[in-house]
C-alpha cells in the first residue's frame, strides 16, 4: 500500500471516529445533570442505616462490600503475580550494595521530614476513612509511599524490615483474610455475608459505622503491605547503579 492510500485510509478513519465521538458527546446529559437514582438513594439511606458520614465508604464496604472484597483480591493476586515473575534471591544483596545515597543534606532532611508527614497523613486517611474523605486504599498507598521514601533518603538498614517478606506476609494475610473473616462471621451468626455485626456508634465519631470500620482497617493493612511488597520487588529487580558506590557507605 502506498503512502497516499494509507493516509487516505487514516484520514477517513479519523473522520469517522471523530463523527462518532461528536455524536456521542452531543447526546450526553448536560454538565452536572445527574438523573440518579442510586446516588440519591445512597445519600438518603447510608447515614441513618450505618452511621457512616462518608457515604462513599459506606457504599464501598457495605452496600457493595462484596465487590470491594473482589477488588482487594485483585490487588493481592497482582502482587503475587509480580512477586512470582520477578523473584530472584541473588539480586537482593546486589541492589542494596549498588544503590547510591543522596549526598545533599538538604534533600535528605526534607525527605526525612516528608517520611513523618506522609506516615501521619496516611494513618489519618485510614483512621477517618469512614467519617471524612479517605479510606483504606488511599491511606494504604500514602503510608507505603512514605515508607519507600525511607529507602530513598534514609539508609537501607531502616528500610530493610519493610521489604522483608517474612515480616510482611502475615500482615498481608491479616488484611486480606480479615475482610473475608468479617464477612463469614456475619454468615455464621445467621445473617447475610458481610452484613453489619457491630454496634453502630455515634455518626461522626471514630467508634461508629460497625463492620465498615473493621473492613476499612483490614483493607488498609492489606493495601499498605501489598504496596510495600510490590515496591520491594520493583526496587530489587530494577534498581541499578547510578554511579559507582563510594566505599563504606
Amino acid at each position: 500500500m502506498s503512502r497516499q492510500v494509507r493516509l487516505l485510509l487514516l484520514g477517513s478513519g479519523l473522520l469517522g471516529l471523530g463523527a462518532l465521538f461528536a455524536w456521542a458527546i452531543a447526546g450526553l446529559p448536560a454538565f452536572g445533570d445527574y438523573q440518579g437514582p442510586y446516588g440519591f438513594v445512597l445519600n438518603r439511606i447510608v447515614l441513618p442505616l450505618r452511621h457512616t458520614t462518608n457515604v462513599v465508604m459506606g457504599t464501598n464496604f457495605d452496600v457493595r462490600g462484596l465487590d470491594t472484597m473482589g477488588e482487594e483480591f485483585i490487588l493481592y493476586a497482582s502482587v503475587v503475580g509480580v512477586t512470582l515473575l520477578l523473584r530472584d534471591e541473588t539480586r537482593t544483596r546486589l541492589a542494596e550494595r549498588r544503590t547510591r545515597r543522596f549526598r545533599d543534606d538538604t534533600v535528605r532532611l526534607v525527605g526525612v521530614a516528608m517520611v513523618g508527614a506522609g506516615l501521619l497523613i496516611g494513618l489519618w486517611l485510614m483512621a477517618f476513612g469512614y467519617i471524612t474523605p479517605g479510606g483504606g486504599f488511599q491511606g494504604g498507598v500514602v503510608t507505603a509511599g512514605a515508607i519507600v521514601l525511607l529507602y530513598l533518603v534514609g539508609n537501607h538498614r531502616d528500610y530493610r524490615p519493610f521489604r522483608n517478606e517474612h515480616l510482611l506476609d502475615p500482615f498481608e494475610a491479616v488484611g486480606a483474610g480479615g475482610y473475608v473473616i468479617v464477612g463469614l462471621a456475619a454468615l455464621a451468626s445467621g445473617t447475610a455475608f458481610l452484613a453489619n455485626l457491630f454496634g453502630l456508634g455515634t455518626p461522626g465519631m471514630l467508634r461508629s459505622s460497625g463492620s465498615i470500620a473493621i473492613l476499612n482497617w483490614a483493607s488498609a493493612i492489606a493495601v499498605t503491605v501489598a504496596m510495600l511488597l510490590l515496591f520491594a520487588e520493583f526496587l530489587e529487580t530494577y534498581v541499578v547503579p547510578l554511579e559507582p558506590e563510594d566505599a563504606g557507605s
Binding site: 448536560a30 454538565f31 529487580t237
Partner: protein, 91 residues
C-alpha cells in the same frame, strides 16, 4: 448550553487538565514524562476537588503521586541499566 452551567473555577480546572494531557503525551523522555505526569495528576486532583469529589481526588493523588511514578522510574532505571551494560560490553 454545556458551558453555561460551568462555574469559572471549574472551567479553569478543566482547561488545566486539557492542557496537561497533551503535554504528557508530547514529553518523549520517560523520566521527564514521569514528572510531567505527576503534575498532570495534581491538575486532575484539583479538578476532582472543584467538582466536589474528594474521594476520587485522594485516590488520584495516591495513584498518580506515588504508585505510578515508582513503577515508571523502576522501568526507566532498568532500561538505562540495560543500555549501560551494553555500553560496557562494547568498551
Amino acid at each position: 448550553m454545556v458551558l453555561a452551567t460551568l462555574v469559572p473555577l471549574q472551567a479553569v480546572a478543566f482547561g488545566l487538565v486539557a492542557l496537561g494531557a497533551p503535554l504528557v503525551v508530547l514529553t518523549r523522555d520517560p523520566l521527564r514524562q514521569a514528572l510531567v505526569n505527576g503534575i498532570y495528576g495534581v491538575s486532575l486532583v484539583c479538578l476532582f476537588v472543584v467538582l466536589e469529589a474528594p474521594d476520587p481526588a485522594l485516590s488520584m493523588l495516591a495513584v498518580s503521586g506515588i504508585g505510578y511514578p515508582l513503577v515508571i522510574l523502576a522501568a526507566v532505571a532498568r532500561v538505562r541499566g540495560h543500555e549501560r551494560t551494553e555500553e560496557d560490553e562494547e568498551q
